[in-house]
Amino acid sequence: MTRTTARRRHPAAGYAVILLGLVSVGLAYSAITSGSSTSATPPSIALTAQLSQVSQGYAIFKADCSSCHGLLAQGVPGVGPSLIGVGAAAVDFQVSTGRMPSKGPANENVRKPLEISSPAQIHAVAAYIASLGGGPAIPTAAQVSMTGASAGFGQQLFVADCAQCHNFVGAGGALTYGKFAPPLTVSTPTQIYEAMLTGPEAMPVFNNTTITPQEKRDIIAYVVQTRAEPNPGGLSLGRVGPVTEGLVAFLGMLLFMVFAALWITAKHGKAHE
């Protein structure tokens, strides 16, 4: 009895209870949502399925997106842009990378943990936006497949048109006025494809007549293969090139030299007076 009380009064007990509550709610929520999505997936007639996907997407849109983008996705001036014509690929990219829902119109949208977690839900919203008027579609698995893609040619293209912002190995980099090009280290092939197609944030658009779908696959192959390159020095240092390496070498060696100088010249024991 006393042992139980003592445990209940332990400083960590409160955190543990909250964590337990959150996990159980999350599990229950995911069980419910996955149940609903699986019930929506098998279609008897394609059109019905598509319609139900659009209507499901609209329901999610109304609940989670319309406060900024307007009830009909027409946009709210100063808050959120119109989504008519942006296409399913843009929606899938923005939501699947966690950039949407945004933290606010003033913020730069960055990759963060998903708030709409199920791909089926994201695809539903994407289908709804696509139904409003065209735009690039979400690429199929075949379109982003890396089999037969040439990473070597992809590197040429990447160096010509991507590396200036995203760094030679996709480690990202700085842009103007505090904006930055994100690292590509965790992007899925689908997300890379969608980003090229739709030009999210400050990124230019690389449409399919400028960078062909085959070339996009080559670029993806390069980005993905580069991640697996070994770091024989032990540390990648973010792979952002000579700046960090130089900084580490400079500061590290400087520190080492300072301590070495201190040690060499320190007065030692009785030998000195």
Binding site: Q164, T176, A202, T209, T210
Partner: protein, 390 residues
């Protein structure tokens, strides 16, 4: 130098300060004679490098007093033969020995790494570099640490003062040198035969001029080559990488940006160093055209663009880095080297950073087949400023 008078002297008496001008001239120096007498009278005859008698083991502090007295004192020992704490010295010795052994092993490791790692692929080279670098670093570091511990723990920490001899030679020496010099000049006939002297001087002139003439290899001067690029009328813009020509209808998405190169020069890196271009597609009404006719810095020239597509030099006007960080939301072109920022919608006007001129705009049009081509070369030099640019 003083060997002629005190050949047997151990040589360390000069350090004691017994004579300020000890032993410089070979003869006739009073202080030298005094020192010599002192040495020959009392100093033990010993071989350099062997330990002195036990009574001589005194520190420097007692030296000057004994020396000043100058009576019956042995040459004082200045450095202690042993460290004060022998047990501590023993421990230090072991550490030093361990360091040196580590250095030796790492040195052998370097040789082994050189022999073992083949370097026929990039990955192998990286591993080889890692092994060679770390073994060499360990070897040098262990050597340095061992030496430092040796110095700090085993060698004595004693300050010595060495008296300096006067730098000026004696008057006799100086007179003798002057005489020798003059006699030599006469005997060599250098002064007596001016023809020989002058032809010798003339012979050295071309040798001295040759390095100056070799500076010519730094030329020739660039002339007009910096003023123009390989772009010319009718040359197609190729999508770099795929090297395909571009129709305005292909490059149709507003916010698009692509690097292009002149047709026929896609593999000519010397040419591309100046001729690289980015083309940018704007939405309707986004471009701010200049109101005055060309040339207007900081304004897009209307009849140089095609369907809201504008072409700018990719070479930054600051120091020539590739400036191609294009933001479609703000229309900024950023140069990554020094953050020069250009407004692509306003003729690549400089809005931030050290660049002083806009990126030059390439005049564009379409050819009979509808592909983007250049109307002409750039109308101003691309890239950084240079002396002759004016």
């Amino acid at each position: 130098m003083s060997d002629s008078t005190a050949g047997h002297r151990p040589g360390d008496s000069d350090l004691t300060g017994s004579g300020s001008a000890a032993g410089l001239p070979p003869d006739g120096n009073a202080s030298d004679g005094e020192a010599g007498a002192e040495e020959t009278g009392t100093a033990p005859h010993r071989v350099i490098g062997t330990p002195p008698p036990a009574q001589a083991r005194t520190l420097l502090g007692t030296g000057p007093a004994a020396d000043a007295g100058g009576d019956g004192a042995v040459a004082p020992r200045e450095l202690p033969a042993d460290p004060p704490d022998l047990a501590s010295a023993k421990r230090a010795e072991r550490v030093v020995v361990a360091c040196f052994i580590v250095a030796m092993l790492a040195g052998f490791g370097f040789i082994a790494a050189y022999l073992i790692f083949s370097v026929h692929s990039v990955t192998n080279v990286l591993h080889s570099n890692l092994a060679l670098g770390s073994t060499m670093a360990i070897a040098f570091l262990a050597l340095a640490v061992g030496a430092t511990i040796w110095v700090r723990r085993l060698m004595p920490d004693v300050e010595l003062t060495e008296q300096r001899k006067p730098l000026r030679s004696s008057p006799e020496d100086r007179a003798a040198f002057a005489q020798t010099f003059e006699e030599g000049a006469d005997a060599s006939q250098f002064t007596k035969r001016p023809l020989v002297r002058r032809t010798l001087i003339a012979a050295t002139v071309p040798v001295a001029l040759a390095p100056i003439v070799l500076l010519r290899d730094m030329g020739p001067l660039p002339g007009k080559s910096l003023d123009r690029t390989v772009w010319r009328k009718g040359l197609r813009l190729l999508n770099y990488g795929a090297n395909t020509p571009i129709r305005p209808s292909d490059f149709s998405s507003p916010g698009g940006m692509i690097t292009v190169v002149p047709d026929g020069y896609q593999d000519d890196f010397d040419a591309l160093a100046k001729a690289a271009v980015i083309i940018i597609k704007f939405g309707p009404g986004q471009i701010v055209y200049g109101t005055k006719p060309y040339p207007v810095p900081g304004a897009v020239v209307p009849n140089w663009s095609v369907n809201n597509i504008v072409a700018y030099s990719k070479i930054c006007t600051h120091v020539g880095c590739p400036a191609a960080l294009y933001e479609q939301t703000t229309h900024h072109i950023l140069c990554p080297c020094h953050q020069s920022t250009f407004d692509a919608a306003r003729g690549a006007k400089v809005i931030f950073g050290p660049a002083t001129r806009p990126l030059p705009q390439l005049p564009m049009t379409t050819d009979a087949e509808g592909y983007l081509v250049a109307q002409s070369d750039f109308t101003e030099p691309v890239g950084p400023s240079f002396w002759e640019r004016g």
